[in-house]
Amino acid sequence: MDRFRMIFQYFQSNSESVMNGICGLLALASVKMYTSFEFSCPCLPHYNMAYGLGIMFIPPIILFLCGLILNRQSLVMLEEWRRPPGRRKKDLAVIRYMCSSIMQRAMVAPVVWIIVTLLDGKCLICAFSGSMDPKKFVGFANVSTVQVQQLLAKVPCKDEELLRNNTSHKAVSRYLRCWSQALGWSILLILIIAAFLARWLRPCFNQTTLLQARHWSNYIDIEQKIFEETCCEHSRLFAHKCILHFFESMQQEIKLHSFSLHGEGEGAEGGEDLLQGITDQEQVNKLLKTWYYEKPPLDVSQAHQR
């Protein structure tokens, strides 16, 4: 439990860490989505390509957009970009830094999906089985053109009766899966090398600018959070004063209208404060009715001056 709490606090304390956490969660969600998604190739001549490529590219777009939506810093960056300059100049380097860091984090989940798809192979087999050259495979070489398209389209569906007598479909599957996995591993290798180089070579170029941009982007983020917290705190105090003022004005109204001999001087002990001079069912009802029908104005300046 302690470990979990420590991890939780670590992630919360640093907004970059929070974003890395979200990024990691999205990547895991992407893998989970792929494994729970029931891939079902239509095995029809023109539908295969659309389905296969669709499954390979549409979810990454969705994951990319999700990565942008869930990242709080994208809103902060947009606000900083669109705000009027006012008395504070805008630094484009900071905005560029924020933009690139947001994009990098948002790209992780789509890339994970594409790589998992390629390494699994089902998408590519479905998409490109119809585009295979039938002459390369013994079982399809002597079949008529129209029928070969049909047969090739049915290769991803292993339970087809038409293919039971034809073992070349396994050859097509293996061939396509081999290409798919090779492509997957190559993309992974290229990306990792690119990330490695970018991280290693970055200190060689513009280190000062980078440090400044990172500092000020962090600052803008923190300033935004603190402003929101201060607003919350302020509205709480405002509401407190407003309600107290309302109860006091009710108390005054009651004193004006009732002829009780109970003087103002004795009113300040013990439970009397809490009761605010409201000691009767009708008075309470009147207070509640007034609260609904005539909410007090949003102005606590009088209460403040008292």
């Binding site: 029931e38 009732s258 000691t279």
Partner: protein
């Protein structure tokens, strides 16, 4: 348990996070509901469409309404909308902001249900199995079958055990076709929703940031004010009840003294607090009468001014209460049981 408590506390501390938490729980509940639901296509020509579309569209509507019901702010919005103007003007921008933020959160669980249903494929397969293009996918030249017969055969596609139209169109081919269409629809729907969400979120800072900050502040303010008012009323009710009950016991004790016509036994000085708390009721019979009186004749909701400050029990000091009839009524009722 500690882990859950920490997560719970995190969500509660921030109102918006709490709403997001409920939203996330409903989305998870929606997927769980779908996987627990035993989908059973009727496999009859006209019932399939009704059943399939019903399962596709009715639960999202229910989840949408549930999203509003579970949101505490709905009553706040209704109150703010319907209250009379009084001394405080109403800002329609604030009302719009509150409604939009509630509607957005309420739409997530239905959208999850629709996506999961479409990506799974069973609903669309059930609903549209009679619309499969037999000409392109199957053997359209199969003779001696009327339109009604073909419909009946196609309607059984989702039920593999009773499907008898293998010569017309292979079951796997039809199911794969329908599922492919369903999944394509599902992914397109998810893409559309995500794009909309992205546009809504990213276009707002570009156009109406100042108005947005104002609406957000005042909607939080209304929420906090309502909660603080409820807390203040609860505290007031507590004090009111305390004083009311104290006065009831004091009233009892005074009447007892008057009824017995003997000098009150003054508690010895060193019995202290315990004697005070007994409020003059020191035997079983008296206590039983006090309890009966509490049940049969509750005191009026009116506190006598002089007895308010402290609870030292004797209401005998000179004080004309504003409603002198009330204590007399109490005494009369009490006497009737003597």
């Amino acid at each position: 348990m500690d882990k859950f408590r920490m997560i719970f506390q995190f969500f509660q501390s921030n109102q918006e996070s709490f709403m997001n938490g409920i939203c996330g729980i409903m989305a998870l509940a929606s997927t769980q509901l779908y996987s627990a639901f035993d989908f059973n296509c009727p496999c009859l020509p006209h019932y399939n469409l009704a059943y399939g579309l019903g399962i596709l569209l009715v639960p999202p509507f229910i989840l949408f309404l549930l999203g509003f019901v579970l949101n505490n702010n709905i009553s706040m919005l209704a109150e703010e909308w319907r209250r009379p103007q009084g001394q405080r003007g109403k800002d329609p921008a604030v009302l719009r902001y509150m409604f939009c933020s509630m509607a957005q959160r309420a739409m997530i669980a239905p959208a999850v249900w629709l996506s999961v249903t479409l990506l799974d494929g069973k609903c669309i397969t059930c609903a549209f199995c009679t619309w499969v293009p037999v000409g392109t996918l199957g053997n359209a030249s199969h003779p001696h079958l009327s339109q009604g017969e073909i419909q009946r055969l196609l309607a059984r596609i989702p039920c593999k055990e009773i499907y008898d139209g293998q010569e017309l169109i292979a079951n796997e081919v039809a199911v794969r076709y329908l599922r492919c269409i369903s999944q394509a629809l599902g992914w397109c729907f998810v893409l559309l929703m995500t794009t909309l969400a992205f546009l809504v979120r990213s276009l707002r800072p570009c156009f109406s940031q100042a108005a947005f900050l104002k609406s957000r502040y005042w909607s939080h303010y209304i929420d906090i004010e309502r909660k603080l008012f409820d807390e203040t009323c609860a505290e007031h009710a507590r004090s009111f009840a305390k004083v009311c009950i104290q006065q009831f016991f004091e009233g009892m004790s005074t009447d007892l003294v008057a009824a017995r016509c003997h000098l009150p036994r003054k508690a010895p000085a060193d019995a202290g607090e315990a004697a005070e708390k007994l409020l003059g009721i020191t035997d079983q019979g008296t206590m039983n009468m006090a309890l009966k009186s509490w049940h049969r004749c509750k005191p009026p909701l009116h506190l006598h001014p002089p007895a308010l400050p402290t609870g030292n029990g004797w209401a005998g000091e000179g004080q004309p209460p504003t409603h002198p009839s009330a204590p007399r009524k109490e005494t009369a009722a009490y006497y009737s049981w003597v």
